[in-house]
């Protein structure tokens, strides 16, 4: 443990100093990319956790760096560690926080029913929920207001920071004449089997080098995640109609027949796709507009950056402590 440099830093840093923040990435390329827009310096923790930054999902921003080797970590200083996942990342994040004596911020991407970002039909081995409730952190950031009550006992304070979506970048554009469905490339085998009937359609994967306007390559976006995720919001911002299997969290964003479609199974999904394809849904334009309006209204990028900067400000005025 080499904490003294970080402790001195916590006392001597100035309010406008850029923070050096350790973050994790399993599937959080997009969220980390958004965090980088706050301008602080981010470092990817690569030990113990499978951190493979997928460049097809998002380019690595200039202010997101790989963490130096162990020796150099201890010769540098850090201000904060952020953890995206209570189930798998937390223990490593906590030990980093303890070893370096820097505060920890937990980002809750999901509530208790889902526990961690996961695809539909995947199962998460249920850990001790009581333990997950009492995880120590300086602050909890919930990515959606419905999550704020999900972990009530875990820290003294929770803030809601709705994920920011750049609605100038993700906006409606002309859809190609050929009917296609847009689908997240991240599909485990189990879901691939489930979604096999969709193979009769042209499928456009979201993760690709020329991903500008990817959500405009087809009129519908199939959500494959149980939790509210950034690709879903980006698709909605483009006015692409989201179709998702019903989950406790997705229905907060996709209101059936209002901002998209929530279905029970793949047959219903194909049924909706067919209706869209054959122009059988009369209010389709309205749903598309509602989807975009929802994102514009609730997922402002400015608000995201402003609120995260407030969290970083709090962290900046704070220091690592235990037992409080």
């Amino acid at each position: 443990m080499y904490p003294i440099k970080n402790i001195i830093r916590s006392v001597t840093r100035k309010e406008d100093d850029l923070l050096k923040i350790i973050t994790f990435c399993e599937i959080e390329e997009k969220y980390n990319n958004l965090l980088c827009q706050t301008g602080h310096e981010f470092y990817l923790w690569e030990e113990n956790i499978n951190n493979n930054w997928n460049k097809l999902v998002e380019d690595k921003p200039d202010n997101l760096l790989n963490l130096p080797s162990s020796d150099r970590i201890y010769n540098s200083y850090f201000d904060l560690v952020v953890c995206h996942n209570r189930v798998e990342q937390y223990n490593v994040a906590l030990s980093v926080s303890q070893a370096l004596h820097i505060p920890l911020v937990i980002i809750d991407h999901c509530g208790q029913e889902i526990l961690k970002p996961s695809t539909i039909f995947s199962t998460v081995t249920t850990p001790d929920i009581k333990k997950l409730h009492t995880l120590q952190s300086l602050i909890n950031v919930c990515v959606h207001d419905k999550l704020v009550s999900a972990w009530p006992n875990s820290s003294k304070g929770s803030v809601v920071i709705n994920t920011g979506i750049d609605t100038d970048k993700y906006k409606p554009a002309n859809v190609s004449d050929e009917f296609a469905i847009v689908l997240d490339n991240y599909i485990p085998q189990s879901i691939a089997q489930f979604l096999a009937p969709l193979n009769t359609y042209t499928i456009m994967g979201t993760d690709r080098e020329d991903r500008t306007n990817v959500y405009n390559l087809g009129p519908v976006f199939i959500n494959t995640w149980k939790n509210i995720n950034i690709k879903l919001l980006e698709a909605m911002a483009c006015g692409t109609i989201p179709i998702s299997i019903e989950t406790p969290e997705i229905s907060h964003v996709i209101k059936h027949n209002e901002t998209g479609f929530v279905v029970k199974d793949v047959d219903q999904m194909i049924n909706v796709i067919e209706k869209v394809k054959n122009n059988e849904i009369r209010n389709i334009q309205q749903i598309s507009q509602n989807a975009r309006d929802y994102v514009v209204e609730n997922h402002s990028m400015n608000n995201f950056i402003e609120k995260w900067n407030q969290v970083f400000q709090l962290a900046s005025n704070s220091f690592y402590s235990r037992g409080t």
Binding site: P3, K5, I7, I8, V11, S321
Partner: protein, 365 residues
């Protein structure tokens, strides 16, 4: 003058208490102090925050780090970098700690043995002896506790408080106790191992019984009582007030807080001569066990590079410890004489007194 103090003052162990007391003494200097807690142990820490954690100054003149030497940093933004080093062993050349200590401008230690050792290693550096301090109000304002049913009021009670580690001299204590007394003596040995698992001290007892040989015979062995529930400062005060004589036959050079507190309560501790504790507790207010320098061949090795046989510790002589136990039990006159010197000790170790000393050290350019 503004000072940044970093130390484990929220850790509920001997090290934490030393750090807490240094911070309280620093606060009495009326200098500008900012403090930050260091957590180097995994057990639960003290939740109480210090008001000095909320102060912030534009610049700091002095950095005081109370830590293990391997964590020390020398930061050129401070005019003076001071390290508080509680060396438990001497002759630590091989550990790499001296290399880290060498970066500092000034070193504070709590035993003359450690000071002399470091002065020899770093003749051009300032090495100061900083005594342990104590919250004397705890002693002055203590109220008589309810008698504990497990402590026989009619017996003379020796007591030990700490972890069941060889370096604390537990084996020597138990063997000396068996050697000195029988079940006919109105004595009791209270071993307080707060939070220690029974297996730890059961093994220890087995070793002691083996070493004691025929000294150990259930029918003639004097009473021993073990307390292993964790206790707070108030309960420790209660133990001090219900027992008669603290025994701390530690091998380590670092001065210990609890025997000094025991002495403040008039409990004339039995301590190892030549250690940091015997700087404050002399034969005027304590019983000194004869001891000798020995290589550090004790089983617990808290750090990979220290506590090896290359180092030196101060081992108590069992026969001398036995003599101290008997004298403390039998010689009430001498015990009372030692007890009468308690007030002088209280003055010497108060936060104000030690704070004045620290202020002098800090203000010297």
């Amino acid at each position: 003058m503004s000072i940044l103090f970093i130390g484990p003052y929220r850790q509920p162990d001997e090290w934490g208490k030393r750090s807490f007391n240094i911070l309280q003494s620093l606060k009495k200097t009326n200098l500008d102090i900012t403090s930050r807690p260091l957590f180097l142990a995994s057990f639960p820490s003290i939740a109480v925050q210090e008001e000095t954690e909320y102060t912030k100054f534009d610049n700091y003149n002095i950095l005081i780090q109370h830590s293990l030497p391997m964590h020390f940093v020398a930061d050129t933004r401070f005019k003076k970098n001071i390290g508080v080093v509680d060396l438990e062993t001497l002759d630590i050349e091989h550990s790499g700690w001296l290399y880290k200590i060498n970066f500092l401008d000034e070193i504070w230690v709590n035993s003359s043995a450690a000071r002399d050792y470091l002065v020899e290693k770093f003749p051009d550096k300032t090495v100061r002896y900083v005594p342990n301090s104590l919250d004397i109000d705890v002693v002055k304002n203590a109220v008589q506790p309810e008698p504990s049913p497990s402590l026989d009021p009619n017996r003379f009670k020796f007591y030990f408080v700490g972890s069941a580690e060889a370096k604390n001299g537990i084996e020597e204590l138990i063997i000396a106790y068996y050697r000195s007394f029988t079940s006919q003596d109105q004595v009791q040995l209270i071993l307080c191992f707060p939070g220690v698992a029974p297996e730890s001290f059961q093994d220890l007892f087995k070793r002691c019984v083996q070493k004691a040989g025929r000294l150990y015979e259930e029918a003639i062995t004097p009473l021993v009582h073990i307390i292993n529930v964790p206790f707070d400062a108030e309960q420790l005060t209660s133990i001090h007030m219900q027992c008669d004589c603290m025994v701390s036959p530690s091998y380590t050079f670092a001065a210990q807080h609890i025997p000094i507190q025991a002495a403040a309560f008039g409990n004339t501790p039995i301590i190892t001569n030549g250690t940091g504790t015997s700087e404050l507790l002399t034969d005027k207010n304590a019983w000194l066990i004869d001891s000798y320098d020995e290589c550090c061949d004790i089983p617990e090795r808290p750090f990979p590079d220290v506590f090896t046989a290359k180092e030196t510790i101060r081992k108590p002589i069992i026969k001398s410890l036995s003599r101290c136990l008997l004298a403390a039990y039998q010689n009430k006159y001498l015990r009372d004489q030692k007890k009468s010197n308690t007030n002088a000790l209280l003055e010497q170790v108060s936060y104000e007194e030690v704070g004045n000393e620290l202020k002098d050290y800090l203000c010297i350019q």
